[in-house]
Amino acid sequence: MSKKISTEDVKHVANLARLAITDEEAEKYSEQLSSIINFSEQLSEVDTSNVKPMTHVLDMKNVFREDEPKDWITKEEALKNAPDKADGQFRVPSILE
């Protein structure tokens, strides 16, 4: 069975998805994702030339509400579950080199 997704593809996709993977994992995912993609090739046999893609089950359009301020969570609450915080803010490592 030809591999649809090479280990290089897996590493590219993992980077896009912000996942760090080892070479060993890349090998495994290459095989598993390829077999899932191969399986999904069956969709190409369906004639969909005049079929509109379905994005949503219900025939709904935009749902509007009044734009009114409401009480929600406080700053303290928002920070409550943060792994690292300082001075009322989330703290992260440096973003720029």
């Binding site: 996942l19 893609p53 949503h56 969570i73």
Partner: protein
């Protein structure tokens, strides 16, 4: 006979007559959990202190069971439903420190308003991705009918807890069968409502165009009552439908004379276990005896449902799970020296194998050069699958078939083979793709392994009433729910 074997009606009658107190009923759940959960492993977090406190309050206020549909009723909650101040992990290592959720899901607010009592949080496949609950980062839930077997998934904890009599009712969530398949494997009743019937606010999103919260119970009547409580439009979820919530219990008349029932030939074809098919055919005969008119129909695009689903659900998941970045909540990897590394390390350590697999599959399907071939194509086939249902429902009230092609499988049997695992959902996935409601109810046992078999009843959009009507009529005729697993020395 345990208190926990009674229906909501029976329990509330006992409360009204002062035969029992809410505290006794709540305590009975925790006793039963203590007695059985070292074997079942259904619960991740118990809400004992708060639940008993709430029970005491309700007892002090006095029994007014008629005023509240779920007054004093104990319920277990799948761990992907947000509960304020009660740990919510989605069975993921990533959320292992998420002790203080800031708000309740709308379904939890509604349960609280109905005076139901949250007993605790139930095990599941991590982020609801899986069909056996083996993808939990914490524990392996077993099937109460035989501990060597999986309970199904992803709402395996919810189904097992109800089957084991730990709680009489539970909430699960269903994206591709995650309420109905475990209900089938554990011999309980599980409902996936119409997409939009129940607010998704506070349900941790997996695939937003497919996810719905649904009840798991032992009887159809209890199920209908819980759905009535949790349903309704919600301004916090713009995809919740602004449609009146009927009193579903009015549909439980036992009368299905003249009701038109369709049986898709694709649902009883090869791949479906022979004895499962036989049991479904017996159930169909029962429906005929009750006066239903039954015909064979076709849902020709059914065979494409799994591929369609895995493209769409994984794509949506890859976007939804981007929020888990290790910054605002959840576990953060240590020693990352820049932001990108922090994301990557936190996510890689926090997510399990199946979650990573689906995030990567979805990212691939949405990536430049593949979007049209995989994602858009799947959206088109989704429409064809939906149109199959629409055509049948022009002439029929409900569709029936098996919930799953087989009974429960053994723990460890399928975990290494994603595609075999995915095939468990072939009969439940089309329902999510079309957004229609469907229930699984017990219809007997397999002679090879004595494990339960589930009958699936599918309805039109927002016609849960007729689904419940047929399910209830069948249940009352056969009374399968009276059979319970022997576990912890108690029947």
């Amino acid at each position: 006979m345990s208190l926990l074997d009674l229906t909501i009606k029976e329990l509330q009658e006992k409360l009204s007559n002062k035969e029992i107190t809410v505290t006794e009923l709540t305590q009975a759940c925790f006793d039963r959990i203590e007695e059985t959960d070292d074997q079942v492993n259904a619960f991740l977090t118990l809400n004992k202190e708060a639940a008993l406190e709430q029970a005491k309050q309700l007892d002090e206020e006095g029994i007014d069971a008629d005023q509240f549909l779920l007054f004093g009723m104990p319920i277990g909650i799948k761990d992907n439903i947000m509960t304020k101040d009660l740990k919510t992990t989605c069975a993921s290592e990533f959320l292992s420190n998420f002790e203080d959720p800031l708000y309740d899901a709308t379904v939890i607010t509604k349960l609280k308003n109905a005076n139901a009592i949250n007993i605790g949080k139930l095990n599941m496949d991590e982020f609801a991705m899986g069909s056996s609950t083996e993808n939990s980062a914490y524990k392996k839930t077993t099937n109460p009918w035989n501990k060597d077997y999986v309970p199904g998934g992803s709402s395996g904890g919810s189904a097992a807890a109800v089957a084991a009599g730990q709680v009489p009712f539970a909430l699960g969530s269903d994206t591709g069968g995650s309420v109905r398949q475990p209900a089938s494997y554990c011999g309980v009743v599980g409902m996936k409502p119409t997409y939009g019937r129940v607010s998704r606010f506070g349900l941790v999103a997996f695939a937003s165009s497919l996810d719905q919260v649904g009840p798991l119970t032992r009887t159809v009547e209890d199920n209908a009552r819980i759905l009535e409580v949790i349903s309704g439009v919600d301004e916090m979820d713009p995809t919740s439908a602004n449609i009146d919530v009927p009193n579903f219990q009015e549909a439980l008349t036992g009368d299905i004379k003249g009701l038109k029932v369709a049986v898709p030939k694709e649902y009883l074809q090869e791949g479906v276990d022979e004895e499962v098919a036989n049991k479904i055919n017996q159930a169909i005969d029962t429906l005929k005896e009750l006066g239903a008119e039954v015909d064979e129909v076709s849902l020709p695009h059914s065979k494409y449902a799994i591929a369609t689903y895995y493209m769409l659900a994984s794509s949506e998941a890859s976007a939804n799970l981007a929020r888990f970045d290790g910054i605002r909540y959840g576990k953060r990897a240590e020693n990352a020296d820049n932001l990108i590394e922090l994301y990557k390390q936190s996510r890689s350590k926090g997510f399990g194998d199946e979650v990573k697999r689906r995030i990567m599959l979805g990212t691939f399907a949405l990536s430049s050069g593949y979007y049209d071939a995989y994602y858009k194509k799947a959206q088109q086939v989704r429409r064809l699958i939906t149109e199959d249902f629409e055509k049948v429902f022009e002439n029929y009230d409900v569709i029936v078939g098996p919930t799953s092609p087989t009974t429960a499988f053994k723990i460890g049997e399928q975990i290494d083979d994603p595609l075999t695992m995915y095939a468990n959902d072939i009969l439940t996935i089309p329902v999510n793709l079309a957004g229609v409601p469907a229930i699984s109810i017990p219809c007997g046992f397999h002679s090879d392994n004595d494990m339960p078999i589930g009958l699936q009843i599918i309805g039109k959009h927002f016609d849960e009433g007729n689904v419940y009507r047929v399910a209830h009529a069948y249940e009352q005729q056969t009374m399968h729910y009276k059979q319970k697993p022997a576990i912890g020395g108690v029947n």
